[in-house]
Subunit: 504 residues, 2 copies
């Protein structure tokens, strides 16, 4: 069995052995334990599960210093960012706890018996119920917020589904440490032992997606890895939903007015956004559309100057570094693309990466150039007029975000571009930068393929819980077998639709 | 090109040529027209689309006599049933019109800017938007309510998605006639020409699922056909959601108490349910669990007597007849199964089918015996005790419905069985029969594989609209580019969640 090692990206050195790859029998046992935990987890009820999520938040908070230290050693993301990420992770668990107590996520609906145009209607009571065990694939770039204690885990547990996390190989020690915190919370609130499980290794991950006990998958990672696991999920004898958040190029458009009014400010904003966290955000703007005029050239010049002085980043892993170099080569070699600037080279040690700025013309934008390059690089794309811009945007792949930097006076142009951007993304950002995803009721973190496998859902925010629920209707059922939420007078009240009318 | 013929199932004779199979170029043109119609359809707004659905209902009603006549000639379902089905189809369109006017299906959400534990939050406004053109595969067994003007079409149009229907070969003339009614409505309300399209032929159907313009698929039909099309949808370069409603065996449990208290009544109810519409309901009870005692035997004897006297049914097509005979053979040859009764044989003409009653023991229930047999047959399964019953139920495939016929005094048994039944189905029916699906807010017509490809959704009832929508968030957007539903004061008010609080 292969050892799972914890690597320091700043040096490239293996620091410790964290675990062994999860073997077949061990994986099967974990899946069975998750399946066995499902009823007990549901039996906790909404307030019990809210308590579990809050206990998990508290355990992470109590272990903050150690969690941040190990995450920094494994990711090189820095303690400031990782402290913020832990706060976000805690907030996410607590917000979901509030949401399940509020209860509207269950879509509880009561249709009382009566006559309709189609004849008599029976008593129908509908709500959403948990799908069963969920496999979660942690992401490399958010070792906390999109990993073991992250959004998919919080959403699945909120829904009432046991979770089996496949730890990301870039941060196995962080995964193990966070898993310990979640397990302590499970113990403290008396949730079933199989509520949360952790597995290591690529083969174990594939086996997880194939396992009959697993009822859905949440994934954040590369398009290649996501597609491979999606194909496994879809070709099972009984296919299961696969929610993959994968590649996203996040087009950003600077209008002529915005370039003219604030070239330097825009250059600073875009540069800050595409180099944040060494460019390792799913929402990094990877295609920046600039007007082919003096103001647009000023933005490009400010960015060129900035990039030339930016220190190299440290990437998350050897694999990410290799992918960045391959992606930058692909970009630089794409027809019509030229390198505008490259920041100082990193030292030989560890997974360093120089910042890169490239440029091409909208009329020449190729599919190769429009593909995501994960890491601190972006491609400036100059357009001569709105028609050329719109045509180039149509050729951009589906993304998590699409951003418009514009002046208020440019109403007509903004109204013309908005539907094009909306057609390409799950979130349209106006005069802001796409990096940074608020955990909120109103967030959408999802978008047309290849941003996600399933544009119907978000993987961030309260409504991400919906991915792990299915509707059930009870017809003419006695109160004794109805869930509390569908009884005449629920002990834990919640918004419901009664005879078609939504009541809060 | 092959001709599409209208066949009379009562005689097996080809009555008329309806159309030619849709060719490649014609299909591509239809898909492009649908894509081109998307913006115009969305621009109608909620009230405009409600008007379109109501106009469709009115056009169908105006053509009722001719529609029912041609549907009866092609399906042999009888004019009483088909008149009811047309009423249901009209009601469905009208209910969806009401629902889109009400607006809560959009999940409109506003998070105002503010400080959070994670730092400042921008203005976030989220709602659901249409996916784009939807392919709908009409079902053989509901030539109106699950076909051209059926639930999937109504749901997709309500969502704002243009629809391309693949006509079922068992009722091409009905499809064409209904399509004419829908087209007249499109013209009357001034909706775009590509709002609704119709294609014929198996190859055209497969090409539809592959076409880049098609963004989702609704399907009702066999497991084999559904799986083949699901595999096409999932293996596209950009996979699309496929909502298939396929095979369902619909277990029905008669408790010892119910058998003892009302053997004859239960026998009548079950027999009526499994032979309704010649057993061609997706919700037909195909596995009937009876206690292995005197009362259970009395139910079986009443059913045996009833079946022996039941006239043969006429099935929808030669293919359905062939499938029924093959299914009945598979059942009869399954280990431990015996034929209890077979009704009078049909004449040589047309697609007649005798009613069949078979029996086995729960302890011997095999996978072959537990598989759906579409048509007027059911399998009685005798159980000796609740443990044997629960074990046999665990082996039953996922279904649209699961039914419990019990006495009020059997509370403990009912509470034990409810979670087992719920785990297997999308609708749990108590002291009723599963055939007959109300179009309502509280309906679930869906369930674990192979009942549907995606247990997360229903294909009947208002919430079926959700399948054809995806979320979009606008961040810091000016009012001028926001949809009406997300502006400070919408012109067409609707329930919204503002700063986390649901407001009706």
């Amino acid at each position: 069995m292969t050892d799972i090692m914890s690597i320091d990206p700043r040096t490239g050195a293996a620091v410790e052995k964290v675990a062994a790859e999860t073997g077949e029998a061990e994986l099967d046992a974990a899946c069975r334990a998750a399946a066995a935990a499902a009823d007990g987890l549901a039996a906790l009820g909404r307030s019990g599960r809210a308590g579990l999520l809050r206990a998990m938040a508290a355990e992470l908070e109590a272990d903050r210093e150690a969690v941040v230290a190990v995450a920094d050693r494994e990711s090189a993301l820095g303690t400031a960012r990782l402290n913020g990420e832990l706060t976000r992770t805690r907030f996410q668990l607590e917000l979901f706890a509030d949401a399940i107590e509020e209860g509207s996520y269950l879509e509880a609906t009561i249709d009382r018996p009566g006559d309709t145009a189609m004849g008599p209607r029976p008593d129908l009571r509908r709500m959403l119920v948990p799908l069963g065990p969920v496999a979660v694939f942690g992401a490399s770039n958010f070792p906390l917020a999109f990993s073991v204690p992250g959004g998919d885990t919080a959403a699945a547990l909120a829904a009432g589904c046991p979770v089996l996390v496949k730890a990301h190989p870039a941060h196995p020690a962080t995964s193990q440490r966070c898993f310990g915190a979640l397990e302590r919370a499970v113990g403290k609130v008396g949730a079933p032992a199989g509520t949360i499980g952790l597995v290591h290794g690529t083969e174990a991950g594939a086996a997880l997606v194939s396992h009959p006990a697993v009822r859905a998958v949440g994934f954040t990672g590369s398009l290649r890895g996501g597609r491979a696991l999606y194909d496994i999920a879809s070709s099972r004898p009984e296919p299961i939903p696969f929610y993959g958040e994968m590649g996203s190029v996040n087009p950003l458009v600077v209008t002529p007015g915005a370039a003219a009014a604030r070239a330097q400010k825009v250059a600073e904003g875009v540069t800050g956004s595409f180099t944040l966290g060494a460019g390792q955000f799913c929402t990094k703007p990877g295609l920046v559309f600039l007007p082919d005029d003096e103001a647009g050239r000023a933005v490009a010049e400010h960015m060129t100057a900035a990039v030339s002085g930016l220190a190299p980043g440290v990437l998350l892993s050897e694999q990410v570094q290799g992918g960045y170099e391959a992606g930058a080569r692909r970009l630089a070699e794409a027809r019509g693309v030229r390198l505008l600037a490259e920041g100082p080279a990193p030292g030989a040690e560890g997974w360093g990466a120089p910042v890169r700025l490239l440029a091409t013309a909208a009329a020449e934008l190729t599919a190769e150039a429009a593909e995501e390059c994960f890491g601190p690089a972006t491609l400036l794309v100059t357009y001569r007029d709105p028609a050329e811009l719109a045509a180039a945007l149509e050729a951009v792949p589906g993304s998590l975000t699409a951003t418009l930097i514009a002046e208020d006076a440019e109403g007509a142009l903004v109204r013309e571009l908005e539907p094009v951007l909306r057609g390409k993304a799950g979130r349209v950002v106006y005069n802001g930068y796409p990096t940074g995803v608020a955990v909120a009721w109103g967030m959408t973190h999802g978008g047309p393929w290849p941003a996600t496998t399933d544009a119907l859902h978000t993987s961030v925010g309260v409504t991400s819980i919906r991915r792990f629920l299915r509707p059930v209707t009870w017809q003419n059922a006695p109160e004794t077998i109805l869930p509390d939420e569908l009884r005449e007078t629920p002990q834990e009240p919640l918004p419901r639709r009664i005879d078609g009318e939504l009541r809060t």
